[in-house]
């Protein structure tokens, strides 16, 4: 029974990983850029919500309403100011520039907020600890379920947006061939900036849920980037749903690993990631793949 419970908790945790990974994998799919500041920006959003809750008494979920538009602006500026410029220098420059950005964001947060760990849980009322008892041993937390549902909704909405709307088509066309997109009237720069803004909105959502379900500190961005990356690569298939699958695999592995030993949580996650890579060695399919639809 404990094992079953661990698996269920792992699946729910996977919902969070899918949430943090979807922006990363969306951005890679669209702009072929892996943003190393991804995790740090999620933590930035978490701190923004913390400040709103702590100083101004704004409910965490209401805080999202203010933080998400701000994150969209961050995404737009990031694309125009950093990614677009660095992508011109080739595939490697964005890795370097976003790493530099991550260092700046992390340390500015540290400068502002110090080393204390924070959480939004105290401001979330009963949402933080309420749960439904399924059997005597198995409980499903309300927050965990909400996180999972949010991630399914978000991934579904992104999928619909990309396939059913004119803007979504423009973004996909730009991803496939920006030059030709221009030749049929698509403003590729605008499409990329909108895509970055959308990605950062998902990062904001992920940051909010991270802050609700756990503690965070200014240097928590790195691990979040790693989890997002692992989920995205494990999911690796062509669609956003792959990201959900990858998140669940990662969450279950960590959850089971934690059952074995305290360090097992992280070790099992990294190990499953490397095992998936190793497995693909023999199947010829490797890493993240450009998104089809």
């Amino acid at each position: 029974m404990t094992w079953l419970n661990q698996i269920i908790q792992g699946v729910l945790l996977g919902g969070y990983y899918a949430l943090i990974a979807c922006g990363l994998s969306f951005m890679f799919g669209v702009m072929r850029i892996i943003n190393l500041a991804h995790g740090s920006l999620a933590i930035l959003a978490a701190f923004a919500m913390f400040v709103l809750a702590d100083r101004f008494g704004v409910q965490p979920l209401a805080g999202l309403v203010a933080v998400l538009p701000a994150m969209a602006v961050v995404g737009w500026v990031l694309q125009r100011g950093v990614l677009e410029r660095s992508a011109r220098g080739g595939q490697l420059v964005p890795v370097l520039s976003t790493f530099g950005l991550a260092v700046v964001v992390d340390n500015l947060l540290f400068q502002q907020f110090g080393a204390d760990t924070r959480s939004l849980a105290p401001y979330a009322g009963s949402l933080a600890y309420d749960s439904w008892a399924i059997t005597d041993d198995i409980y499903i937390g309300r927050l965990a379920a909400l996180t999972f549902a949010t991630s399914v909704l978000l991934l579904g909405a992104l999928q619909l947006f990309l396939t059913r709307t004119a803007l979504g088509r423009q973004i996909r066309a730009t991803a496939e061939d920006p030059d030709t997109a221009g030749l049929v009237g698509v403003d590729a720069r605008r499409a990329n900036a909108i895509a970055a803004a959308i990605a950062m909105v998902t990062v904001g959502v992920a940051g909010g849920f991270l802050a609700l379900r756990a503690t965070f500190d200014p240097y928590a961005g790195g691990p979040q980037l790693i989890f997002a990356f692992e989920a995205a690569v494990i999911g690796g298939a062509g669609s956003l749903w792959g990201t959900l699958g990858g998140g669940i695999v990662l969450g279950v592995a960590q959850s089971l690993g934690a059952q074995v030993s305290p360090q097992g949580f992280l070790i099992a996650g990294h190990a499953v990631f490397l095992a998936v890579l190793f497995g693909r060695l023999f199947r010829g399919r490797f890493g993240l793949r450009p998104r089809a639809a």
């Binding site: 520039s97 260092v103 890493g287």
Partner: protein, 350 residues
């Protein structure tokens, strides 16, 4: 193009030959460091040598082979860990440092088999995952006791002065050896292949370059060099705390050094290490703002000056101190009166 001009391949210029001689002379002079300098300066220079090793190996990886790794701390930490382990097992300390690095180099070989299949940013973070995993696994060793760490107790057998001088010479020798190996490698046919892969992997493969094998050479050399740097760091710091050695800050330092000095220029990495060393000495005490500055410089250099200081010097003044590439220059044919007149450069391969 007039008929009197012929094309010639240029590999050395008088300036670059002079700078190699100068570098050799500088190394020879540095060998007398412990005789000429005070204890603190010897310690500081040892640190500088380690930085140069880190910068040069990361530059070989990122600037030449196009493999941007943000997980080289995996090898740095493993190098130190292997050295601790060997010493605890009774292995003689100083030879142990090199053996430790060699073991890590060996370990990087199977690792390369699948990490090198990853491209660009995926390789970058993938390496970070490797570093995190290594960190966690090392923590499991009872000798290390989790984050508590351990010390290189065996070094207590040496007197403080002897130890300082030994470590200094060892770091100097390691730096000289690694720079030489990289310089020769990058000037060889393999070096040419390495850069071809960086510029266009498919095209390189189409002209017969063995892509994976060639990348693997650089990957393993970089792993070895970084591990040696980690082992040397251990010899100067004496204590081994996994968190310090496996920290992402090492990557931040490497990126800073190489970006400021000049990504993909041989002398750039060395210059960057010296610059970083100086900045750390002056501003290191500023703590968080110092780190913000490092990150911001990496960001600004990558956006505005991706070739770093050396790249800029090269473009502005056509100055190449330690060239590893080939370049075509127009030369007047011998029949012409001013045969040494160097014409317009039409193509430069870095």
């Amino acid at each position: 193009m007039s008929e009197q001009n012929t094309l010639a391949v240029e590999r050395w210029t008088p300036t670059s030959a002079a700078s190699v001689l100068l570098a050799v002379a500088a190394m020879a002079l540095l060998a007398f460091g412990p005789r000429l300098l005070g204890a603190e300066q010897v310690d500081r220079l040892t640190i500088l040598f380690i930085y140069v090793i880190l910068a040069a190996t990361w530059n070989a990886l990122a600037g030449y082979a196009g493999l941007v790794s943000i997980g080289q701390q995996a090898f740095f930490g493993l190098g130190a860990y292997a050295a601790v382990r060997l010493a605890a097992g009774g292995f003689s300390v100083y030879p142990g440092l090199v053996v430790a690095a060699a073991l890590v180099g060996l370990l990087s070989l199977p690792l390369s088999a699948f990490m090198l299949r990853l491209k660009g940013g995926e390789f970058a973070i993938g390496m970070w995952v490797v570093a995190e995993l290594m960190h966690l696994l090392v923590n499991l060793d009872p000798l290390v006791q989790g984050e508590t760490g351990t010390s290189l107790i065996a070094l207590d057998a040496y007197a403080a002065d002897t130890r300082r001088d030994q470590t200094y010479w060892m770091a100097l020798g390691s730096m000289a050896a690694i720079l030489t190996v990289l310089f020769v490698l990058l000037r060889s046919r393999t070096g040419c292949a390495i850069q071809a892969i960086r510029d266009d992997e498919e095209a390189a493969s189409a002209v017969g370059v063995r892509v994976l094998g060639t990348k693997r050479i650089v990957f393993v050399i970089a792993a070895f060099g970084t591990a040696l740097a980690g082992a040397l760091w251990l010899a100067t710091a004496l204590t081994f705390q996994p968190k310090t050695y496996f920290g992402i800050q090492w990557t931040a330092y490497m990126i800073f050094m190489v970006l400021v000095g000049g990504l993909g220029t041989f002398e750039g990495a060395i210059l960057g290490a010296v610059a970083f060393f100086a900045i750390e000495s002056w501003f290191g005490a500023a703590g968080v703002w110092y780190l913000v500055g490092l990150g911001a410089s990496a960001l600004i250099f990558s956006l505005a000056l991706p070739g770093g200081v050396c790249g800029w010097l090269e473009r502005r003044f056509d100055l190449r101190l330690l060239p590893v590439g080939y370049r075509l220059v127009h030369r007047r044919a011998p029949t012409s009166s001013n045969r040494d007149n160097r014409g317009r450069e039409i193509h430069a391969v870095r």
